[in-house]
C-alpha cells in the first residue's frame, strides 16, 4: 500500500510503446505521477544513474527507488497499489497465459516494427516482414478469443496485463501501416483484435497516452534524417 506523500516519477518518452505501459497501469490505479521526457539521442544523468545496466526508458522511480523493464514495472504497480483495479488476473493459470503471450508479443512485435518502419512501400523486404507480422497477429487473434472468453479485453471486462503489453504496440502498428501502405489491423482477417483495438484505444486509462500514428510517422522521418523529435 502506498503512503500519502509518495513521490512517483516516470522517466520516459511520448513515442515509446514501452513507456506507455506503466503510464496505462498508473492511470488504471488512479496514481498521480510526474513524467520526465528523455531527449532522443541524449540520455539524461537521471536515466543513466537509475538504469545503469540497460540505460533505457521506462524507469519508474518510487520514493527514490528505481524499477526498470516495462512489464516488471507494470507488475510492481499492480502489487504496490493493490486496492485499485487488478491488472493481473487472480488465477495462477490465467496469469501464466497472460505472461506467456506478453513474452510472445515482446519477442515478435517490436523487432518487426523496427524493421518495417525503415522499409519502402512495395519493396520485397516489406512484403516479407509484413507476412511475419500478419502471422503473429493471426496467433494473437486466436489468443484473444481464448483469453477474453467472449468479453471485451484479454483481461475480461476491463484491460489487464496482456492488453497493456500488446495494446501499447498499436500506435506503432498503425504507423507502419502508413509507412509501408499495408493494412495490418484488417477486420476481415483479425476481426476480434480490430474490435479490441478500438475499445483499448478508447479506454480512459489509454486514450491520453497512446501516441498518434501520424506523429510516429513524422518521428520516424526525423530518426532517419538524423534530427531528433522531442
Amino acid at each position: 500500500m502506498a503512503a500519502e506523500k509518495d513521490e512517483i516519477k516516470l522517466i520516459g518518452g511520448w513515442a515509446s510503446p514501452f513507456v506507455m505501459r506503466p503510464r496505462v497501469a498508473l492511470n488504471m490505479k488512479g496514481v498521480v505521477y510526474e513524467m520526465t521526457q528523455e531527449t532522443v539521442g541524449k540520455k539524461s544523468d537521471l536515466l543513466l544513474k537509475s538504469n545503469p545496466i540497460y540505460k533505457k526508458i521506462p524507469v519508474l522511480i518510487h520514493n527514490g527507488k528505481p524499477i526498470c523493464e516495462s512489464m516488471i514495472i507494470v507488475e510492481y504497480i499492480d502489487e504496490t497499489w493493490s486496492d485499485g483495479a487488478s491488472i493481473l488476473p487472480p488465477d495462477p493459470y490465467d496469469r501464466s497465459i497472460a505472461r506467456f503471450w506478453t513474452a510472445y508479443v515482446d519477442d515478435k512485435i517490436p523487432a518487426l516494427i523496427r524493421k518495417l518502419r525503415l522499409l519502402v512501400k512495395g519493396s520485397a523486404e516489406a512484403e516479407v516482414e509484413a507476412e511475419k507480422l500478419n502471422a503473429a497477429l493471426q496467433l494473437l487473434e486466436e489468443a484473444f478469443e481464448k483469453c477474453s472468453k467472449g468479453k471485451s479485453f484479454f483481461g475480461g471486462d476491463d484491460i489487464g496485463y496482456l492488453d497493456i503489453a500488446f495494446g501499447s504496440q498499436l500506435g506503432w502498428i498503425k504507423a507502419v501501416e502508413k509507412i509501408v501502405e499495408i493494412k495490418f489491423l484488417d477486420k476481415e482477417k483479425i476481426p476480434g483484435l480490430v474490435a479490441w483495438s478500438e475499445r483499448f484505444c478508447a479506454h480512459e486509462a489509454v486514450k491520453e497516452v497512446m501516441p498518434e500514428a501520424d506523429r510516429l510517422v513524422e518521428f520516424t522521418k526525423m530518426l532517419l534524417s538524423g534530427s531528433f523529435a522531442k
Binding site: 545496466i53 524499477i67 526498470c68 523493464e69 516488471i72 507488475e75 495462477p92 496469469r95 501464466s96 513474452a103
Partner: protein, 227 residues
Amino acid sequence: MVASAAVRLFGMWASPAVRRVEWALKLKGIEYEYIEEDLSNKSSSLLEFNPINKQVPVLVHNCNPIVESLVILEYIDETWKDNPILPVDPLERAKARFWATFVDVKCREESRKAFFMEGEEKEKAIENLQVQLKALDEELEGKKFFSGDHIGYTDLAVGWMTFWLGVAEEAAGFKANYDVKFPNFSRWIKDFLAEPVIKDNLPPREKTVEFFRAFKQLGSCTKVNQK
C-alpha cells in the same frame, strides 16, 4: 504433497531451463512425473501442449500446460504457497524479476556468441559477458545468495551459469575467468552447487560437455530447443 499424475514435466536431460523448473518443484516438495523428450523427434504431446514454441520445459498441471521456464517458476510459486521462492515485498520482487530477465536475455546472448563464434566476435562476447558478471558480482555483495540466506527465484534463474557456463567454456574453448575476477560470484557458485536440491539435480558433466561439443560442431547458430 500432490499426486504425481497431476503434475507432469516435459524436459530434456541437458537443458538448464528444465533443471530450473525441477529445482523449484523439489524445493517445494512437489511430486511430478518427468517425461524425457527427444528434441530431434518431438512427441505429439509436446507439440500439443506447446504448439507455438515447441520447446521444453512444459509443465502440465491438471491437464493445463504452462510454458517458458520463468513463467513456470512464477506459476509454481503462486500455486504451491509453502517455501516461497519469490520475496513478499513488491520492490524486492521487481529486483528479482529484473535480474532473472537480465541473465536470461543478456547473459545468455553473450554466452551463446562466445560459444558459437570465433576470433574478434568471440573476444567481444567474452568482454561483454565479463561486464555482465561484474554487475552480478556487485549484486551479491554482502549476500550469501541473490535471494538472501536461502536460494530463491533469482538464484534459480541465474543458476544455469553455475554449471552450464563452465560446460560451454570447456566445450568451446573460452574462459570468462570469473573465478579470478569476481569473488562474490565464484563464492555464490560454490554455495549454490552445494545445496542438496541442486547438487542432486545436475546432468552428468562429461556427458553434457560432449553434448555441447557435438552441438557446436553442428556449426549452426540456431537456438537450442529450450527456453
